[in-house]
């Protein structure tokens, strides 16, 4: 599903040049659950942004579902993203002015799903993450665990092929964290590919494979048994 080869990303400010990704090559197959680990500044977030088509690499190749996307413009990337990729963030990133229902509905609006259809799909997915009873609440009225469940619901409402999770349990206590991890595992078992950046060895154990990064390169891969 994902094949990146010799990927490079360099951040430049006036004085400093920071190499975030240094000729990185990774492959993720469809249906895999991959955890990316490494110290702060090793480039894992940059990797996730490029995989999510939020950022473009300076050099190298990125093949997504058989298509070379490294040189896509913003419009093409947005189009590919909204149909194929779901995001889960550490800080949830729900829109405060929208209700739970409306937050989850948003990706469907951008992909042009009809209103009646939207309602059905949002309710389905809210049911699945057991937050249906709070559908008309605003994010601030929910606990952290509930907010992250809404965020997961929003990530999967479009039935994406790939979910990118950036420390999804970072802001949660352990029981809420486990619940979210279980949800991701369930999704993976239903066929969704997942790439998760995490600091937590505990969370990483939910994955099939751990990629460990340092200074913009992979240093080790562990296959989980």
């Amino acid at each position: 599903m994902i094949k990146i080869t010799n990927l490079e990303k360099i951040y430049r400010t006036e004085e400093v040049e920071t190499v975030a990704l240094n000729k990185l090559s990774i492959e993720v197959k469809g249906g895999e659950f991959v955890a990316v680990m490494g110290p702060s500044g090793c480039g894992k977030s940059t990797l996730l942004n490029i995989l999510g088509l939020l950022d473009d690499p300076d050099a190298g190749s990125f093949v997504f579902n058989g298509i070379e996307v490294a040189k896509f413009n913003e419009r093409k990337r947005a189009d590919l993203r909204k149909h194929n990729i779901g995001f889960v963030f550490q800080s949830f990133n729900l829109i405060d002015e929208l209700t739970v229902f409306e937050n989850v509905e948003l990706p469907l609006i951008y992909t042009g799903v009809k209103s009646a259809d939207r309602k059905k799909r949002v309710e389905e997915v809210l049911d699945k993450v057991q937050i249906m009873h709070r559908r008309n609440h605003y994010p601030q009225q929910l606990s952290g665990g509930q907010q992250q469940r809404v965020a997961v619901a929003r990530a999967v409402v479009n039935s994406p092929k790939l979910i990118l999770a950036d420390e999804p349990t970072g802001n949660l206590d352990s029981s809420n964290g486990n619940e979210v991890m279980q949800m991701l595992t369930d999704l993976n078992e239903q066929g969704t590919t997942i790439v998760m950046v995490t600091h937590s060895e505990h969370d990483a154990r939910y994955s099939h494979r751990i990629i460990r990064m340092l200074d913009g390169q992979t240093v080790l891969e562990n296959i989980m048994v």
């Binding site: 999510g52 419009r75 729900l94 829109i95 405060d96």
Partner: protein, 788 residues
């Protein structure tokens, strides 16, 4: 999709009520102000559209050139109308009218003066009045016919069904009402006219109008469809001269569309902008006020961008492209503008009476009128897009990776600079308007305080009705004996408007090639002393008018123009009319145009041509008793006529109507611009204080004083006001300098006005900003530091 935007917009408005209030209040004031101005503009530019064929309507203009200066006016020779219709193809109808006649009508014991015109019957083919009663095709079936407006009909008869009834005119002649027309709207020519009668009646009493050399009436022309006015004007070149060799008149026809807004001519006789200047100026100001209000929106929206940044990031991650986000933010600003427009309509409804009072019109806002509703929507659309454009492009350009990672947005330099520039624009406009207001008022004051050369106070004049002229001597004697008046006199025109003039004067040593236009006034001997004019040389007229019938008094300007050593005793010839000896020179006094130096003028001692009675009250007299005493004396000698009079100083004040209106509007605009700018500044300073709350906390912990912190927070804004002044001063100077060029008698622009306006703007800005600055500075630092 739009529903989603709408929801977000409304919830955002609600969440940030304070900012929303500032935005909506600013925009609503701006839209209401622009709306009122556009109502005024609509009224001005639709003037005379009441007359359905106004594209074919013209007025004949007369140009006369004296010594290189061309005067353009409406007075035309009597025979012109009939003659040009017969001679020039393309002319469908012509009609002569008088300038306006105030005539006494009576029915039983009802006696009322009404303003009207003597017109040729062709007048009704040119101007399509709405006939309620009577025959529009033949409105004047007999000599003493009378067409009246429904207003006048109601006044006398209480009904409009009055065709065939009679009214007595000037207590002498019965006129038969032959038609009743609908009252004219305010923005149509002749809206102050209440009756029309055949021109023949006037013509028979004024035989002098029959000569080509005398210009005494107005001529209107209706052209055939698809006739080019140029072709008619070509035929009019030399037209009057070919009939009267001595005439110095060139005729041309002047279209109806220019009467109201232009009808102003420079020294070369070329048309220049009249009222249209104000229409343009006010339209421009309306847009400027709108822009100022839009700037508030831009500034507050971009200042608050960090709060919206995360939303932008999330939406981008979820697949929104930039164009969709731009659309969303534009939609938001349109919603905001729309709400403002609704508030503006309410404001307009409440302020319209005051505005009408100010501009002396009866404007009304009609939301069912397509023009009004469409204009309002256009204003909403334009200001919404204008206000939303910059925030939309700015907000939608955020990089989702940066904002979601909570990295510092690099908006410091660029956006901050634009925000500051926008505030500078707002304050520049405010400062310019303050300066203009002050200078306009100074100019009005300056001219009002001008030494007129006569005493305009305690002086009334009235037109000579009935037996007033015949009974002048007993009236005067009784006024003086009763102690009411100091003096009284007769004259051919009132003190401020010396109407008639001639270029036909000559004297020894005059360059025969050069004609000089000289004003003529025919007076009784007491006129100069009644008006309070002062003699420079020679003597006043003798009390016995007959003794001075061949003598004249001239003004200083004419004396200078004559260039003779001994003016007193020199002879002035007036064409074939006769020779007159100069017995006195009167000190220059101001007449006709308060802004220029007086033109040459001759007083003839000939009360026979008088049209006005002037009465000077004693300076110590109580005006109310003096007036009632005057009325009873005049009634005694002139029974059957209501006493109508004007104070010269009241009439004088009316001369400043145009300038006073501009001054008042400039003041209103200045205040509005400042209010709107301050609303924005208030929001912006609140934002700045909020944004720097942590910095303030740290500084406070390290020992900064409240005063020092308030200064720190205000400093930036003060600098902006300074820059605004630097931009505003030269612009204001240039605008006022060119405005003042229109007035020969004008005030000098003094530096303290600029200084004062700058100081005022600074003070207002300081008060606005310091509120937030002090609030932030006295806040408990522990709280603000713990927030992180």
């Amino acid at each position: 999709m739009f529903k989603n935007y709408f929801k977000i917009a409304v919830r955002n408005l609600w969440k940030t009520k304070g900012y929303s209030f500032l935005n909506i209040a600013g925009l609503a004031i701006g839209i209401a102000c622009a709306g009122l101005i556009f109502l005024w503009v609509e009224d001005e530019v639709t003037y005379d559209q009441y007359y359905s064929n106004n594209k074919n309507i013209y007025k004949v203009k007369n140009s006369q050139t004296y010594d290189g200066t061309t005067f353009v006016f409406d007075a035309t020779p009597g025979p012109l109308a009939q003659s040009m219709k017969a001679d020039i193809p393309g002319i469908k109808t012509t009609a002569r009218t008088t300038w306006g006649n105030r005539v006494l009508f009576s029915l039983d014991d009802k006696t009322i003066y009404e303003q009207g015109l003597y017109v040729d019957s062709g007048f009704f083919s040119i101007f399509h009045f709405r006939f309620l009663k009577g025959n529009a095709a033949n409105p004047f079936p007999q000599l003493h016919s009378l067409v009246v407006t429904s207003d006048m009909a109601e006044k006398f008869f209480g009904t409009t069904d009055i065709v065939g009834k009679t009214l007595k005119v000037n207590n002498e002649q019965d006129y038969v009402i032959t038609a009743v027309i609908k009252d004219l709207p305010e923005n149509a020519s002749f809206n102050k006219v209440h009756w029309f009668s055949p021109f023949r009646i006037y013509g028979e009493n004024n035989q002098w109008l029959q000569e080509w050399g005398n210009n005494g009436i107005i001529t209107y022309v209706q052209t055939e469809d698809n006739t080019n006015s140029n072709s008619i004007n070509k035929k009019l070149v030399g037209y009057v001269k070919s009939r009267n060799k001595e005439a110095n008149s060139e005729m041309s026809i002047y279209p109806n569309s220019r009467w109201r807004l232009y009808d102003s001519f420079d020294k070369n006789g070329a048309e220049k902008e009249g009222r249209i200047r104000y229409v343009k100026l006010f339209s421009l100001i309306a847009w400027i006020i709108l822009i100022i209000a839009c700037i508030n929106f831009m500034n507050l929206a971009t200042a608050r961008s960090e709060q919206r940044a995360r939303e932008v990031g999330v939406r981008k991650v979820l697949g929104a492209v930039k164009s969709k986000l731009i659309f969303q933010f534009l939609a938001e600003s349109l919603i905001m503008t729309f709400i403002s427009a609704l508030v503006a309509v309410v404001i307009m409804y409440f302020t319209l009476p005051a505005f009408n009072n100010l501009v002396e019109k009866h404007l009304s806002l009609n939301l069912l009128a397509p023009l009004h509703i469409i204009s309002l929507l256009v204003i909403v659309l334009i200001s919404g897009l204008l206000a939303g454009s910059y925030p939309a492009f700015y907000l939608s350009s955020f990089n989702p990776v940066m904002v979601l990672k909570k990295l510092k947005l690099k908006n410091g330099a660029g956006a901050g600079f634009i925000r500051k520039s926008l505030v500078v624009i707002q304050f520049s406009v405010s400062v310019i308007l303050i300066i203009c207001t002050v200078i306009i008022y100074q100019q009005i004051r300056h001219t009002k305080d001008r030494d007129l050369g006569f005493n305009k106070n305690n002086l009334v004049f009235m037109s000579l009705q009935g037996k007033l002229k015949d009974n002048f001597t007993p009236i005067k004697n009784e006024l003086l004996q009763s102690g009411i008046a100091e003096n009284a006199s007769l004259s051919s025109s009132d003190e401020l408007q010396y109407g008639s003039n001639s270029g036909d004067f000559s004297w020894d040593g005059k360059d025969p090639g050069k004609q000089l236009l000289v004003s003529m006034v025919f007076v009784s001997p007491e006129h100069l002393s009644t008006a309070g004019m002062k003699l420079k040389e020679g003597r006043d007229f003798y009390p016995n008018a007959a003794a001075d019938s061949n003598n004249v008094i001239i003004n200083e300007t004419l004396a200078k123009a004559m260039k003779t050593k001994n003016v007193i005793g020199s002879i002035i010839s007036w064409g074939d009319e006769g020779k007159y000896t100069v017995v006195g020179v009167v000190k220059d006094f101001i007449y006709n145009n308060v802004y220029t130096d007086p033109a040459p003028l001759i007083f003839f001692c000939n009360p026979g041509y008088a049209n006005y009675l002037s009465i000077r009250f004693r300076p110590d007299s109580d005006i109310r008793t003096a007036l009632s005493g005057m009325e009873s004396i005049i009634k005694k000698y002139n029974p059957g006529y209501p006493v109508e009079y004007n104070f010269v100083d009241d009439v004088f004040d009316m001369y400043f109507k145009g300038e006073t209106l501009v001054g008042k509007l400039a003041a209103v605009f200045a205040v509005l611009a400042i209010i709107i700018s301050c609303l924005g500044l208030f929001g912006l300073s609140a934002f700045t204080a909020e944004n720097r709350i942590k910095e303030i906390g740290i500084r406070k912990v390290l020992g900064a004083s409240t005063g020092g912190l308030a200064t720190l927070l205000s400093k930036d804004f003060i600098r902006m006001v300074f820059i605004s002044c630097i931009i505003a001063f030269p612009i204001a100077w240039w605008v006022m300098h060119s405005w003042l060029q229109d007035f020969e008698y004008r005030v000098a622009i003094s530096w303290w006005i600029f200084f004062g306006a700058g100081l005022l703007a600074l003070l207002i800005a300081l008060v606005t900003v310091s509120f937030q600055a002090v609030k932030a500075a006295i806040a408990n630092p522990v709280k603000s530091l713990r927030m992180e």
